[in-house]
């Protein structure tokens, strides 16, 4: 141990204008020894004579100064004007953040990685004003719904993703640790350079690259266990028996059970199964390991990584619900001929295994069936096999032959297991090679060839089984599916930077060509020998009956785009800013005469804080920029050839023969299956944005504010067509929607001695209103049969004057407590609900005509939140770090329908125990009956979806200083709780219900796979 002599160092810390700065941290490098400057900016500290001092303060560039045996060290810190000198990614280029005139936001990769999510989009939640990110299911690997500034269409409303300049439809293959930053282009002026595909916003992802002279090895990992955060309680056997009795009596039947029966349910031969417990899997694992290397010299830089990510599902467990991703990435850049030529590449490869249970509509939702199965049904028979609920199937349970209580139900757990045996994987390779030439100062030509290649392999097995008369399979089945596709993008950009006095210009012109092609094949056959998932290959199937054999294959619909675009960026003294862009897109999806779309934008900015007349505010306002932008962007998200009428040959057979069974004897036929629309053209979104970016109080306070109005016109919409047309409706252009909103992001960073802390919060308000719908009744109707069997329409996808997907039903006004109230519920003397009984819902006769019908249905809920918000709070103290992240929404409603009301024997949640069962017992939950009489769609299905979720709490400690090995710069151990608390009045398992039954529908909880609560431990090591 070499002991150096200790000396006392004193000094003064000032800023550029010679003002002393109090509170600056002065730290001896590699130790805990340090102090802070006094109010007069001075400090004093005992250190070894060869120590290095680190001076740091929020809003200033930190400095390292060797003591070199000096006793007085005065330091001038320069303001970093945090962020403003940073560059942000804009379309086909970068721009100084200070000069940006559009509404964009940037989240850096570190903030994503800290969230320990398997998906970058999920990590973005709560960090992005104006971008609503919602889980469509809590199942591992399920997609997230990303809506930028409100729903602009009832078609595909997802944004365009561009990774390192290459467009792709899905970024779930990316590991958070590989992301340098994500930029979201929200307004039309920013997005218009992406023209045709940017109507729903653009998300630009930059992956990490190496830096000259800095070699770094990092290892990041976490391991966590997940459990369901909140379960819904279903009735147990006793409660169920009581409710069934009451429903029978209320439906004019004799009760099923005597009081004795109910007391002796334990000996009845029936079970008392808690199906929710059965469906959930405890302590499902989530984990991630990433090893990265980066570095470089003056000629070349590189960044590479290898990672594994795994997440098990909390419903059913890893056998049926599981996600594993293996990925590697290598990015490099090389300078040739003294930097005149730059050659670089990005490449990420991911191998993803993903199995999942059904999380779709009421007939394709594994969890939902658990809600509807009586507790009487056991999981297993006496042999430990799944019990077959078919009458007289000879099943033994508790030593006696099983007699079904209700034959219509079947073991939901077994059904989930039987029907979800699969071995699926997909691979994705996304990358590009680029060449940049800078022959003269300011002039750059870049050509880039990008590739998005994927393959999907699916293999599944369903055994022969019988769980009930309805849920059975007479032949085991193997299915194999293969798909591959490749999209390439070729981009050429010429950029010229020049200035004339203080007038700076950047002119960019470019062209791009894009093509996607793919194919798929699928075969399915039955009667395996041997049988089982391991043997589920077509070679092992023996069936030769055509009806049970499927073989199909086709190209995926190809898609081509050809684009020309340009941008002029101008600024005068970095004070007056102007950007204009223009893009022309030709798309193969439209008929020749409507092929080309043109998308202009213009935006301007004024850096007020640079004006002399604003000088007096310099102490408070560091930076203030006003922005205004306008632009048009497009959407071409439809299948190709909608301008043609296809003639369908497949499945159009007729049998003219006289044999009973003649699988090969059908005669093929044909018919035009869809009407054509040759006039189909681009959907257009036009947006006006006004905002400002500001920094106050030595940049400790940052504020971004935006106001926008976005009009989406000429939706690409499959016409809701009358049956009399006789064919599928064509896609048409029709329907307008207006989104108006406000976004505010505020951040505060400060430091008190060793204690650095930050608070950031964002809030966005959006109002969504459909302004025109081109159908005869001004409505694009929603689907029926969605909430339970044969349920009627309960939402309108679009209707003039209402938000997209609003809930449409009767308004209730409590419950009839007695006969008298039924008779008193009148309009103009007519009893409105003459057939109602005490305990039934009282509906509002909106138009007062004394009849309850569709004319009385009104908006009873809106699935679109009024506001989306999030905040992050954190501090660092010495080697500790602590953060809390939260996000939430308010003003939206959820339709909850767990129960199939068409089935009198379906189980209920325990909410039903609060039902009406006599005068005064309830004014909210109606009496139970065996019919759906009280469950015609009304506001009793509708619940408020407001929530605030504490999505992440992390506490970390960096041991690097304790170890004191110079090659380890970080050794941080941390613990996190994800989805720690959710504050909500919603009584479902999870209020974040992104599920909708179709595009243009959302907020529908049919038995939603909830997001887990996760406890995890992580390690970050940096060399």
């Amino acid at each position: 141990l070499g002991l150096s002599a200790q000396i006392t160092v004193t000094g003064l810390v000032t800023d550029d204008s010679n003002e002393p700065i109090p509170g600056v941290s002065v730290l001896e490098k590699g130790t805990m020894n340090g102090t802070i400057t006094q109010t007069d900016g001075t400090f004093s500290l005992q250190v070894p004579e060869d120590a290095i001092l680190i001076f740091s303060f929020v809003g200033f560039v930190p400095q390292e100064i060797p003591v070199d045996n000096r006793s007085v060290i005065n330091v001038v810190l320069t303001e970093s004007i945090t962020g403003l000198d940073e560059v942000v990614v804009v379309g086909y280029g970068v721009q100084k953040k200070k000069l940006v005139t559009g509404a964009t936001l940037q989240v850096d990769g570190e903030n994503l990685q800290k969230r320990n999510t398997i998906s970058a989009l999920q990590a973005l939640q709560g960090q992005t004003a104006g971008v609503q990110i919602t889980s469509t299911s809590g199942q591992p690997g399920e997609e997230l719904k990303v809506i930028v500034r409100g729903l602009g269409t009832i078609g595909d409303a997802g944004p365009l993703y561009i990774v390192d300049g290459v467009q792709t439809s899905d970024i779930s293959y990316l590991n958070n640790a590989d992301i340098e930053s994500i930029d979201v282009l929200k307004d039309a002026a920013s997005a218009a350079i992406y023209g045709s595909q940017a109507a729903n916003g653009v998300v630009l992802i930059t992956t990490k690259s190496g830096q000259t002279g800095k070699t770094q090895i990092t290892f990041d990992s976490y391991y966590g266990i997940q459990n369901v955060a909140r379960k819904v309680d279903l009735l147990n056997a006793r409660e169920y028996a009581v409710i069934m009795n009451e429903a029978a009596i209320n439906s004019g039947k004799a009760p099923y059970f005597t009081a004795d029966d109910i007391d002796n349910l334990g000996n009845s031969g029936w079970a008392d199964t808690d199906w929710m417990d059965q469906m959930f899997y405890d302590n499902a694992v989530t984990q991630n390991y990433t090893l990265s290397f980066s570095g470089g010299n003056n000629a070349s830089t590189y960044s590479t990584s290898l990672s594994y990510t795994g997440q098990e599902g909390i419903v059913g467990g890893p056998d049926v619900s599981d996600y594993n991703r293996y990925s590697f990435r290598i990015n490099s850049e090389h300078k040739l001929f003294d930097g005149m030529i730059t050659l670089g590449q990005h490449l990420t490869f991911a191998y993803i295994e993903k199995n999942g249970i059904k999380v779709g509509n009421q007939y394709n939702n594994s969890l939902r069936s658990a809600f509807n199965t009586s507790p009487f049904l056991p999981v297993y028979n006496d042999n430990g096999e799944f019990l077959n609920n078919t009458k007289n199937a000879g099943e033994m349970y508790n030593g006696a032959e099983w007699v079904p209580w209700y034959e219509g139900e079947s073991n939901p757990y077994a059904s989930m297991i039987y029907n979800n045996m699969s071995d699926d994987n997909n691979q994705k390779l996304l990358g590009d090679i680029y060449l940049r030439v800078s022959p003269i100062e300011g002039l750059t030509f870049e050509t880039k060839y990008g590739l998005d290649y994927y393959t999907i392999e699916e293999r599944s097995f369903i055994p022969e089984y019988e769980l009930s008369v309805y849920d059975f399979r007479e032949h085991d089945q193997a299915s194999q599916r293969l798909e591959k596709g490749v999209a390439w993008t070729w981009t050429n950009i010429l950029t010229y930077d020049f200035d004339l006095n203080d007038h700076d210009f950047t002119v960019m012109a470019g062209m791009e060509a894009y093509q996607y092609k793919g194919t798929w094949m699928h075969t399915r056959n039955t009667d395996l020998l041997p049988t089982g998932l391991d043997y589920a290959y077509i070679d092992n199937t023996t069936n030769t009956d055509l009806a049970r054999l499927t073989f199909e294959g086709a190209p995926n619909d190809e898609s081509m785009l050809l684009s020309y675009f340009g941008r002029v960026s101008y600024n005068f003294g970095e004070k007056y800013l102007l950007n204009a862009t223009f893009r022309a897109d030709g798309s193969s999806r439209f008929a020749e005469n409507n092929r080309w779309g043109y998308f202009p934008s213009v935006s301007g900015g004024w850096v007020l804080s640079s004006e002399p007349f604003m000088e007096f505010t310099d102490d408070i306002i560091d930076f203030f920029k006003l922005r205004v932008s306008w632009g048009q962007v497009g959407n071409q998200n439809i299948d190709p050839w909608q301008y043609l009428a296809p003639v369908q040959v497949a499945n159009t057979n007729y049998y003219f023969g006289s044999d009973d069974f003649d699988a090969a004897g059908n005669t093929p036929g044909a018919y035009p299956s869809r009407l054509a629309n040759e006039d189909l053209k681009w959907e257009t979104s036009e947006q006006l944005n006004i905002g400002f970016d500001a920094r106050f109080m030595k940049s400790r306070l940052g504020v971004n504010f935006d106001l926008y109005q976005k009009d989406t016109k000429d939706w690409l919409l499959q016409a809701p067509i009358l049956a009399t047309a006789g064919a599928e409706g064509p896609f048409i252009n029709g329907g307008d929607v207006r989104n108006k909103g406000v976004e505010i992001a505020v951040s505060w960073n400060d430091q008190i001695g060793d204690f650095r802390y930050f608070i950031s919060a964002n809030y966005s308000y959006n109002d969504n209103e459909v302004t025109e719908v081109p159908t005869s009744d001004g409505i694009v109707h929603g689907l029926t049969n969605m909430l339970y069997d044969n349920s009627l329409e309960f939402y309108h996808r679009a209707e003039t004057g209402y938000p997209i997907g609003y809930f449409w039903g009767w308004q209730t006004d409590g419950i009839f407590q007695n006969e008298q109230e039924v008779l008193e519920h009148t309009s103009n003397g007519t009893v409105i609900q003459p057939d109602a009984m005490p305990g039934d819902l009282r509906y509002v006769d909106q138009n007062g005509d004394g009849i309850l019908n569709d004319q009385d249905k009104v908006m009873v809920g809106d699935p679109n939140p009024d506001a989306v918000f999030g905040f992050n709070v954190g501090f660092e103290y010495k080697n500790f770090d602590f953060t809390v992240a939260a996000n939430g929404v308010y003003g939206n409603q959820i339709v909850q329908s767990y129960r199939n009301h068409a089935n009198g024997f379906a189980n209920y949640t325990t909410e039903i125990l609060e039902r009406w069962h006599g005068e005064g017992t309830s004014n909210t939950i109606p009496r139970v009956t065996e019919t759906n009489i009280n469950y015609l769609f009304s506001d009793i299905f509708v619940k408020d979806g407001d929530f605030l979720r504490i999505s992440d709490i992390t506490l970390g400690y960096d041991f690097a200083d304790l170890i004191n090995k110079s090659f380890i710069s970080q050794l941080r151990l941390y613990g996190s709780v994800q989805n720690a608390f959710t504050f909500t009045k919603y009584n479902g398992m999870d209020p974040e219900v992104g599920y909708g039954v179709e595009d243009g529908s959302s907020g529908i909880d049919l038995g939603y796979y909830p997001r887990p609560r996760t406890f995890l431990l992580g390690l970050n090591v940096k060399f």
Binding site: N651, A670, A727
Partner: protein, 511 residues
């Protein structure tokens, strides 16, 4: 250049290159047959619905099922208020079939027939027959439906029944003129068109109390067409009544786990027009199977040769008891569960009566397995293969008799003799009575009642009796007033009314 953006589908044809050749025309007409096959595949199939409406059967189905079939049986929306779209799939499928016909008919001129006028005429006749067939179902179910004869996307209002009947009649007259004389299995010919015209005539003139068919066809002309069918010699009665029906003509052979059958076969000499089926339905879009047969199977239990199904249409004992002594059609048409000694467990059955139909029911092998599945059907629900015989020769005979043929007595005698019965005078009342027994469960009875007037139909169908719901006695009431209020018509799918912005008007009694 723009060429880069050129793209065309390679796995589907487009209308730009279709309807050009004889081969296309053949594909297109098969597409029309396929469309007509689809009308009964979803929703409530016409033959099943017709029996539920009638006095032959109740609604039945599972004791815990929804009450859609009771709604139909009792003409009462309140029985299942949310079932306002019970017929929507049918409505859509009828118009899809009609659209295929309309498309083909509008393209007739652009097809290069290569001088083959006979084929051209036959295809037109088939297409027109199929369109008439669809509209005749529709006008009986819903009466005022939008009459679409060329493809259109317009919001077409409903037409008056006379306009629809005029279209049906015209189509059939052209089909009669241009249709083939030869009989080919499954194919429409002029004899089928003449037979259907007879049925249309009788229903229209009866229900609307008119003397002729919208001024286009007189009673004597209608009769002449039927007489032509009889005189053509192309058709005849199958010798034994039971051999018309797969289940009635099957005897289990447990030793070989097979059925010994005397079935006359599909397309036997008595079939004039049938919607044909095959075992080839699957869940990938092929719908050639008989999808409604499963509704009529015994509730979840098989007793070879009777297959399992969902237990719709339990037969009213009144019908069973009304057969004359010695009428062979009684046991060929009805399964009498106790009398046949079937150990049927009715605890899952709604409106159990002890009787079920035997004409249209899945078949089961002696080991209880489903016949269709054993022979390649996908499953017992969609894999059934029994054809729906819409018009058979016995009907032509009885229609001709009813229309006053000089041979009326002979025609009726032929039918009765085949049933093992002695002659009876060929009065109108006797003929209608005969039809009840001859055509039970063939989707005919209800319309025969309705054409005798709504009041007669209502009073004949009205019931107040006791049935077993899940083994428990329950009152079953069919209020005749409901049938009078609705005039025996059905509800137009509410979704289609909404879509039309109330251009479509709901039928009375269904609001």
């Amino acid at each position: 250049s723009d060429d880069f953006l050129d793209s065309k589908p390679v796995t589907t044809l487009t209308d730009a290159n279709f309807y050009q050749t004889l081969e296309d025309a053949e594909l297109a007409i098969v597409g029309c047959y396929d469309g007509v096959q689809a009308i009964n595949q979803e929703g409530v199939a016409f033959p099943v619905a017709s029996e539920v409406f009638s006095d032959n059967c109740f609604g039945g189905t599972g004791n815990n099922d929804g009450y859609g079939y009771q709604l139909l049986d009792e003409f009462d929306l309140q029985r299942s208020p949310s079932d306002q779209n019970l017929f929507e799939e049918n409505w859509i499928n009828y118009y899809e079939a009609i659209y295929r016909v309309n498309m083909l008919l509008t393209k007739m001129d652009q097809i290069d027939w290569e001088g083959d006028t006979a084929t051209m005429h036959s295809i037109e006749a088939e297409a027109r027959f199929l369109r008439a067939f669809c509209y005749f179902d529709m006008v009986r179910l819903w009466e005022k439906v939008p009459l679409v004869t060329v493809p259109t996307e317009e919001n077409v209002p409903q037409n008056e029944p006379d306009e629809i009947y005029a279209q049906i009649t015209n189509d059939l007259l052209i089909a009669i003129e241009k249709g083939k004389e030869t009989v080919e299995a499954g194919r429409v010919n002029k004899w089928a068109a003449k037979s259907l015209l007879g049925r249309v005539f009788l229903f229209y003139t009866g229900y609307y109390n008119k003397s002729d068919l919208v001024g286009l066809v007189s009673a004597s002309e209608a009769l002449a067409h039927l007489e032509d069918v009889i005189a053509s010699g192309n058709y005849g009665l199958v010798e034994e009544f039971k051999n018309l029906w797969p289940a009635a003509s099957a005897t289990p052979d447990p030793e070989n786990n097979t059925l010994i059958s005397t079935y006359a076969g599909k397309d036997n000499q008595e079939t004039i027009f049938a919607i044909k089926h095959n075992i080839t339905s699957n869940y990938d879009g092929d719908t050639d199977g008989n999808h409604w047969l499963v509704m009529l199977g015994l509730r979840e239990q098989a007793f070879s040769p009777y297959g399992r199904g969902w237990g719709a249409c339990p037969v009213d004992p009144n019908l069973y008891n009304a057969f004359e002594e010695g009428d062979e059609r009684k046991t060929a048409s009805i399964i009498a569960i106790d009398e046949e000694g079937l150990d049927f467990d009715n605890s899952g059955q709604r409106e159990y009566t002890g009787y079920a139909n035997k004409k249209y029911i899945p078949l089961a092998l002696p080991d209880g397995s489903d016949m269709a599945v054993q022979n390649g059907g996908f499953n017992f629900m969609i894999g059934q293969y029994q054809d729906y015989v819409c018009i058979r020769y016995a009907d032509v005979l009885l229609m001709a008799a009813e229309l006053g043929s000089p041979n009326a007595q002979d025609y009726m005698d032929q039918v009765r003799e085949r049933a093992g019965l002695d002659p009876k005078p060929a009065t109108k009342a006797n003929i209608l009575e005969e039809r009840r027994f001859e055509f039970a469960f063939e989707g005919i009875r209800y319309w025969d009642l309705l054409r005798q007037g709504v009041e007669t139909a209502a009073n004949t169908i009205a019931r107040s009796t006791t049935v077993l719901n899940g083994g428990v006695e329950a009152q079953k009431v069919i209020d005749p007033q409901n049938i009078i209020d609705t005039r025996g018509l059905q509800m137009i799918p509410q979704n289609q009314i909404s879509l039309s912005d109330n251009v479509l008007k709901q039928n009375d009694g269904w609001n």
